[in-house]
Symmetry: C2
């Protein structure tokens, strides 16, 4: 395996000096890319995820076509509930559906937490293949869903406006909830370690629904498990935690063993720096909808974003996944604007 020709993101995560901030986009593989849409017409979602050659092709598309500084494995956070023995259906254009949800202790006891590397061997095959095809061009990001977010899907069986069933379970059966969260945490740690062994240069943990929790409940049901994962994996590879909507957790998480924190666009760069005491690499936080603005405006606002974050200890990204309706040249304008960044003289 060749050395990395572009290791900007790893340098940024280690807090080393970089010539410019690295850039990638959450959900960059898929959705808005015409070549992805062609594959989507031929193969269903889990065929794309479970066929290493397809996952590899999709993972590489944004590297080749948009010029991002990192590849992220094309997969889904719900492969973990699948590996634990639950059925996950995904109809195109709709959200996920788990026909049999977790309801009680027996359901939790029945969940499998062992042999994730074999159970998700297609992921490891895909990572090895991607690593080979990347040939050191850019680093490869592995990922998993955070335990709270996975619990949400396991209890609700689908997306929700309020995730009140998941919360009700946690509020009325806290011991069972912690048993479930710990099981998810254990398998997730094993899964992320296996991803690193298969070639992932860094990993990101997506807590997509953590912002549904109050600060107090986040500390009970989300944070301890994020920290466990960071502690277990950070010795092997840098870990980025992305607790969407949980801006309030930035001070505590900045003291964790994670190398980076993802933030959404509800928090200003200035406040995020202040809340993390400038002590950790931050990633984000362009409003994904703003990629629908004219290209000139995208470039102007990207420049302002970097002015505000600073060029060091920073990874330019969106504040959430790219939307399916983003024109490719707008996505490219976002990436180019980071690459072309020249500090505003008044801020330099």
């Amino acid at each position: 395996m060749s050395d990395l020709k572009n290791d900007l993101i790893l340098k940024a995560l280690r807090g080393e000096q970089v010539s410019r901030p690295p850039v990638w986009m959450m959900r960059q593989a898929g959705r808005y890319l015409p070549d992805y849409i062609k594959l989507r017409e031929k193969y269903d979602f889990f065929t794309r995820v479970e066929t290493p050659e397809l996952a590899c092709e999709i993972t590489l598309q944004p590297v080749d076509q948009v010029g991002v500084d990192a590849a992220i494995l094309f997969s889904d956070i719900l492969v973990i509930p699948q590996a634990m023995g639950l059925t996950v259906l995904l109809e195109e254009g709709k959200g996920p559906l788990l026909p049999k949800v977790v309801k009680n202790k027996a359901d939790i006891d029945a969940l499998i937490t062992t042999n994730v590397e074999e159970r998700l061997s297609y992921v490891m095959k895909a990572l090895r293949l991607i690593k080979q095809e990347l040939n050191g061009r850019v680093p490869l990001i592995g990922f998993a869903g955070a335990p709270w977010t996975i619990l949400c899907y396991m209890i609700e069986g689908k997306g929700s406006k309020s995730f009140d069933k998941a919360k009700q379970f946690c509020f009325t059966e806290p011991e069972l909830a912690h048993t479930l969260l710990q099981k998810i945490t254990d398998i997730t740690i094993a899964y992320l370690k296996a991803q690193v062994n298969a070639g992932a240069d860094l990993v990101q943990v997506f807590d997509s629904w953590s912002g549904m929790l109050s600060p107090a409940d986040f500390k009970i049901f989300a944070q301890p498990y994020l920290i466990q994962i960071a502690d277990a994996v950070s010795g092997m590879a840098p870990v980025i935690l992305f607790p969407k909507g949980s801006w309030y957790a930035l001070p505590e998480l900045s003291k964790s063993s994670a190398s980076g924190l993802g933030i959404d666009w509800s928090v200003t760069p200035e406040l995020a720096r202040q809340m993390t005491n400038n002590s950790i690499t931050l990633q984000g936080n362009f409003d994904p909808s703003k990629l629908l603005a004219p290209i000139k405006q995208i470039k102007k606002e990207v420049t302002e974003m970097i002015d505000a974050f600073g060029t060091q200890r920073y990874i330019a990204n969106l504040g959430h996944g790219i939307l399916p309706n983003i024109p490719v040249d707008h996505a490219r304008a976002f990436v180019d604007a980071v690459k072309e960044y020249c500090p505003n003289p008044s801020h330099a």
Copy 2:
């Protein structure tokens, strides 16, 4: 019209000393109440909204049955798009649908902003009837949607995960967006003034989707219109602004002419007090899903919430609307916990 026997909420909004915090619940009229569900089976949504006797009956139910310290008009924020000439459909259990959305200047020019008092005369009739039936037991809250939130529905035609069409409109056609926002603001001011004239003792402005905006875009597309409304109406009656998800706006809005700010459960009472410099009445912020917890836990956490906010310049409420699946005795436990509040000796 008799004097108010319980004016706790008005005192709290004026910053006057109260014996205990007032309490009400957003969406308290409807949804979870068995007597409401019976009416829902007989009359469709807009019949309930447009028939003063039904709106009155529904408005009074939580006052009689749950013991809240204020009544809030049973209505919908989308009566304003209706008054402006758009069709709004509401199928039970589904979200709203506007079959013909606003797309361009001609659509905006065609919107009606005059004679709202006549166009929504059923609201004024309902308010007068409610005021009479309340007979001074508790104050009556009028309300409207905020211009940004109304724009979201006018452009998207329905709810959305990202409101990217509404944002795209604002980002690519900012002048048209401001023309539309101003039109909505103008009619909303007239509407709220008419509500006060018809008997509303205070009004609340719901910016349900403001939290989708970055702090910078909130300042452009939401804040100026909230402030215009507060400035125009606050001379007649106290105004509460509730920009859901926009915790970042608390410092600026605390300096507005509003008497109160609503907050959701993503911000701690302590931080909200700090961000508003203890200078304004705060309303909130119990996680609506927590009403699914055991009653004992609800009461404990309500007490902790009041400990954290303090008893003065505070209105106990949820952080968003009550959920349809809340047992009535849990809603009552929330209200009772506020009424029974005894300061924790360690906090007293």
